[in-house]
Symmetry: C2
Subunit: 504 residues, 2 copies
């Protein structure tokens, strides 16, 4: 009984406020009241209030050429209950460097056209449902970060679609934005919704299913990455594509960022995972060249920058600690899974899977490199990690490669101090992270490791000055943020190693 009560609590990490989740939550009255307050407006329900859905709901509530009544919906579970309450209470649950988030939320509050709920009854009011829930890949890795097996479980995704089908109008547009295995909208979403409508004795010929993937980037351009960016879309049939296009035109600045329509939903779904696989593979490609550069005493950063002078080679990547985030770490696997499981192919996408394997191991390679270069044992050594987020100048720790690196240091018996100006709390590890670099640097460390390319660590004379006043130690730059001059200075006192560079 006690345990159940604990589970039914949802705590806001922003305010610490606790919200109790009632036994059988329902919100029919709230939804009815909200919709009644917006007569004549089309209702858009955004399913999922995560990194994409929450901000998408803001963008739709501030649509460019139409005024929508927007309902954000998520599950009545501890991870999202506080978000729902928070949105309705006046505090947006996503913290980001983008001032547009606050501005868009304020405007929506003033217009009163944004509401959050957990009750599937909301779908019954929707003209458009935008699907922004997660679809995860489960990875089974060994101790070296090596991927041994992975699985795609569509059950939660199917349930979410079924909850729409159980309530939706027969002429609803369901626009899938989730990154899905290619084939999902046509082979899973459409049949599930049709089945639900038929069970409810409703016609299926007016149903519209579209797919359009977002290219959201958390950070200072969070809102723009939805509203002011190129969009690719499609529909399972002509009327679906037309409806998807009409909707997207009202929320995205399509005059500057023209829409691209593809032939079918398989194509747009494939485009998204191909896009991310391309990037993941290009990162993986640099791994072995970084090793080669280390062996040959070459600075791979100057080599890559020289190559980037060619317009045809602008996208060549720099080496680093590894790959993080929600997309690049799994999308090649989603694609490979779909190839075999939704299209009956006998062959996986071998190279693309291999890219994920290599990227997953990068933090372990980086640790091994450190271990091999460090004179003596790492046990008991005081280590300062600079950066926890996987992304420069952004606080996003989802699948951050710093985690694998951190865990290796921990296993080696290091005493680790964390710094990140953008991550006060590292959710996945349940750890507090320090923000005051000056204060931290009052201590001496045996090792300082730069693990994220935040602006605070680049061209920071204070950081270099303070490190120079420390007792001799070991500085490991896994991102290549230190300049040649800085390396030369630091090398007068410390051992300095940079990934992808020979001895300097």
């Amino acid at each position: 009984m006690l345990q159940e009560a604990i589970i039914k609590k949802s705590v806001s990490p922003l305010t610490g406020k606790e919200y109790l989740i009632p036994e059988s939550p329902q919100d029919k009255d709230g939804i009815d009241r909200f919709v009644a307050a917006h007569p004549g407006k089309k209702v858009v329900v955004v399913q999922g209030l995560g990194f994409v859905g929450s901000v998408m709901s803001l963008v739709v509530a501030n649509a460019l050429t139409e005024e929508y009544a927007v309902i954000g919906i998520d599950l009545p579970v501890p991870a999202s209950w506080w978000k729902i309450q928070s949105i309705n209470e006046g505090l947006f649950p996503v913290v980001a460097d983008d001032p547009k988030i606050g501005q868009f939320y304020k405007q929506a509050r003033e217009k009163g056209n944004l509401y959050a709920t957990f009750d599937s009854y909301a779908y019954s009011k929707a003209n458009v449902v935008v699907v922004d829930i997660n679809l995860d890949v489960k990875k089974l890795t060994n101790g070296n970060g090596q991927l041994e097996e992975y699985s795609v479980d569509l059950t939660p995704f199917r349930k979410a679609i079924e909850s729409i089908g159980a309530h939706c109008k027969p002429d609803v547009l369901v626009l899938v934005e989730t990154t899905v295995p290619p084939g999902t909208s046509g082979k899973i979403v459409k049949p599930l919704l049709e089945e639900s409508l038929q069970k409810r004795g409703l016609p299926i010929d007016q149903l519209k299913v579209g797919h359009s993937y977002e290219r959201v980037m958390p950070g200072p351009k969070y809102v723009d990455s939805i509203q002011n960016f190129y969009r690719v879309f499609s529909g399972v049939d002509e009327k679906s594509a037309a409806a998807a296009e009409a909707f997207l035109r009202t929320v995205i600045r399509t005059d500057e960022y023209p829409l691209t329509r593809l032939g079918n939903t398989h194509a747009t779904e494939m485009a998204k995972v191909l896009e991310n696989s391309y990037r993941a593979m290009n990162i993986a490609f640099m791994v072995e060249w970084s090793r080669f550069a280390e062996e040959a005493g070459v600075d791979i950063y100057e080599v890559v920058n020289a190559i980037r002078m060619r317009p045809t080679h602008k996208n060549i990547m720099l080496p680093g600690l590894g790959v993080g985030g929600y997309c690049l770490t799994k999308d090649p696997l989603l694609a490979s899974w779909a190839k075999m499981n939704l299209f009956g192919s006998e062959d996986k996408l071998g190279q693309s899977e291999k890219g994920v394997h290599i990227n997953d191991q990068m933090p372990y390679f980086a640790f091994q490199h450190l271990d091999s270069q460090y004179d003596g044992s790492l046990k008991g050594k005081k280590v300062l990690l600079l950066g926890v987020s996987y992304l420069n100048d952004v606080g996003d720790t989802r699948y951050t490669p710093v985690q694998g690196f951190y865990e290796q240091l921990e296993a080696a018996g290091c005493i680790i101090t964390l710094h990140d100006p953008h991550v006060p709390y590292w959710e996945e590890k349940d750890l507090r992270v320090n923000a005051d670099l000056k204060d931290l640097l009052k201590n001496n460390y045996d090792l300082v490791v730069i693990t994220t390319g935040h602006r605070d660590y680049r061209n920071n004379p204070d950081l270099i000055k303070t490190l120079l006043s420390h007792k001799p130690g070991f500085i490991y730059d896994t991102i290549g943020v230190l300049s040649n001059d800085e390396i030369k200075q630091l090398a007068t006192v410390h051992t300095v190693k940079v990934i992808g560079r020979g001895d300097l």
Copy 2:
């Protein structure tokens, strides 16, 4: 005796003219006369009169800020003897769509500052030697185009460097432009030249060795790809780098295309092979996605074009028949070889080698796809191949992927007709190639295969019209040059297949 006489003949493929190669050729008088005619001018010897060296000699003879006396040198062997004679007789041995070739040659003839020879005595006059010889990888493949083994034999390259060392001044600048295994300039060229100088009792401290790779593209911008393009350079020491820079500034338009200097010759050598490996790997990456698109009924071309809207994804490649040319087919292997053999690494560049493997097999995949889609046996079928060159709108057959595809068709018993507007003669296969498409299309073919993306095959209503008037057949577009409209039209009469597209 008779056989020897035959070997000692060199025939110009341009004019058919035969040139006899004398028993012990020497050209001291010719070289002395040429140099004496240009008092006060610095002498630049360009070693190798192939695709790069011949045009490089033109660019140096038309240098921007200095007037050089330029000597092109190649071996007195059948493959190059006619080139040497031809340059001195008034006919430039390289035919290309670039009008600048003719113009630059005419200017050099008028100034009289370009001479060609075979006699190593030329090196004794050189202030600068530019090394533009080939350095090949030998591939051993099985019947399916699968690479089983490869080897790098540096013997011919070492001999060429030794021939410089046997004659050069002690303060010469030797600028290597050949794509070499990383490490070659510093670990092979420099020691070989020093050894030669020491043997000759000369000092070694004034010797300068630089490396700067060209990015030559045969075709309509042939000269510009040398003179008006970004250059990366380095030297084995400070004075070498300075000398290389001073020379490059006189021949390349560095105001518009600034030079990039890297830290050492290993770095520039690595940059070149990394650049090409990046491209080769990105082509290989698309192979399995093309298969996936075929299985899923997706048009990979529209998918890729949608992805290219993103600036970060502009370099994603389109699928095709395979990879050709002198660079992408071997450079990843040169790099991998160097990693193990010049830097003692235990690991090869596995992914980059894999890219070459996949690309080598592409024409075989394409043939298998054709064979599986073609109704009935290919034996005795009349096939028209559109395109022999590996490059659009250019006549370059070096390592063209059309060769593997052609050989498969031949092995299957097809009767093959070749068309290419840019390749009158397919040297590697010793075959005449037809240039008149209209005339060819008077015949009926069982199969028409588009194997190069020449302009003549794109948006060509005549081609479509003529094909429509043919009896039903099979059209296979391995490059994706046919538009959706063209495919729809052709499909009324023929079976149409396009690589990387599902059934249309």
